[in-house]
Symmetry: C2
Subunit: 263 residues, 2 copies
Amino acid sequence: MTTNPTAAILIIGDEILSGRTTDSNINTIARFLGALGIDLREVRVVHDEADQIIETVNALRNTYEYLFTTGGIGPTHDDITADCMAKAFGVDISEHPAALKLLMDRSIAMGWTLNENSRRMARIPHGAELIKNPVSAAPGFQLGNVFVMAGVPKIMEAMLEDVAPRLRTGARVLSRTLKLSYVGESAAADALREINARYPDLSLGSYPYGLSLDGAFGTHLVVRGRDAEQVDAATNELKAALASVVEAGKARNPLASFEEITA
Amino acid sequence: MTTNPTAAILIIGDEILSGRTTDSNINTIARFLGALGIDLREVRVVHDEADQIIETVNALRNTYEYLFTTGGIGPTHDDITADCMAKAFGVDISEHPAALKLLMDRSIAMGWTLNENSRRMARIPHGAELIKNPVSAAPGFQLGNVFVMAGVPKIMEAMLEDVAPRLRTGARVLSRTLKLSYVGESAAADALREINARYPDLSLGSYPYGLSLDGAFGTHLVVRGRDAEQVDAATNELKAALASVVEAGKARNPLASFEEITA
């Protein structure tokens, strides 16, 4: 369990904190890391404010093996992420020749003139390696264990493709999900606790849905872990326990049931 | 600007970090706080892990005027938020008579027997005030400047109704949004920077959309601030500047245009 790489995400952007935009990058990166067996341990969202960004970057990059940031690398005055990264690492920042070429090539392809503002996107901290942006050319960059990516979800997702081969991977987390319908979450709590106590390397979680008095309700029970045999054994034990729970639950609600689902 | 209350959000839940669930509570709370003139300064997402929760709660409650947490107050073994709050504040925790009554009343109404696991949801740190849960009865609680709410979005949203009257409010942030179409973000960067420099109390942001080579693309330009006259004046200056930007942009793409939108 302890040998998997750890990671954090830092979302940089007033638009999330103001409520203007609903973040979707956290989930995209969380799934990406899960598939690589990298443990996402923490997420933070901060303002476009230099001191807060620098302090947070240094806290997270020193705590986790990898830090992924999104946002603040565009052409406008509130795009301060690259400068903040340079300050956090104590390195200089200047126009990166390969980054500038990427921007110029795209300008030519689009029939544009590269203006001074767009050209700002070629400013990269010294020592950084570029991250490809197949969508709109302006690159992200990797500085040490920090991966600096765009905030626009489509671009961020494309950048992850270039990031993946650079990461140390771990044992992928496997999961199986049982859907318990028309039975309250608390009815399954004993089984969850007891089985988890016998499988301390696994994580058994329960996530209720539809809690209003009308309509369907129930709980998703998820068995997660890296050892397939253990996950299967615990799932089978949970199924046996749920059979009893459902049997007792039918007295209260004849619709009580459970099934395994792919979630 | 500095007299508005500040706030942070702490999302407690493996299901967000594992990628199983996409968080929607951040956006709900962000909009709720924005409407009350409370500045959301930071968000963190952590695991169902006692040490990390306690440390994070103490860091955030001592930095910001309010802290809102979601998740981990259900009936199962991984619901450890209430115990963590008691530890973070150095107070005891035990069954709260009013909370227990709420759970029992609901059990009776539903024709259920309240089991030991559900009864755990009546354990509340000493000194806390309950937060009403009109959806499924099990209450949240307020301990000092920390508001502990459910993770299920429907319940969390309902709890905010009971929280709102307890909060000191500030000057609501006003915003106006201009949609610049078929013109790159960088073309507006000069205007944004110059106008923001003349209105330092405002925040001018730009959020590109549709950055692929095909299809529609452009930028949303947002003027935000608490002084309506300043917001209007800056928006008018931005409109004048965008008229020139669009005029120049038409040479590149005849579809170039801008309009004010309600966003």
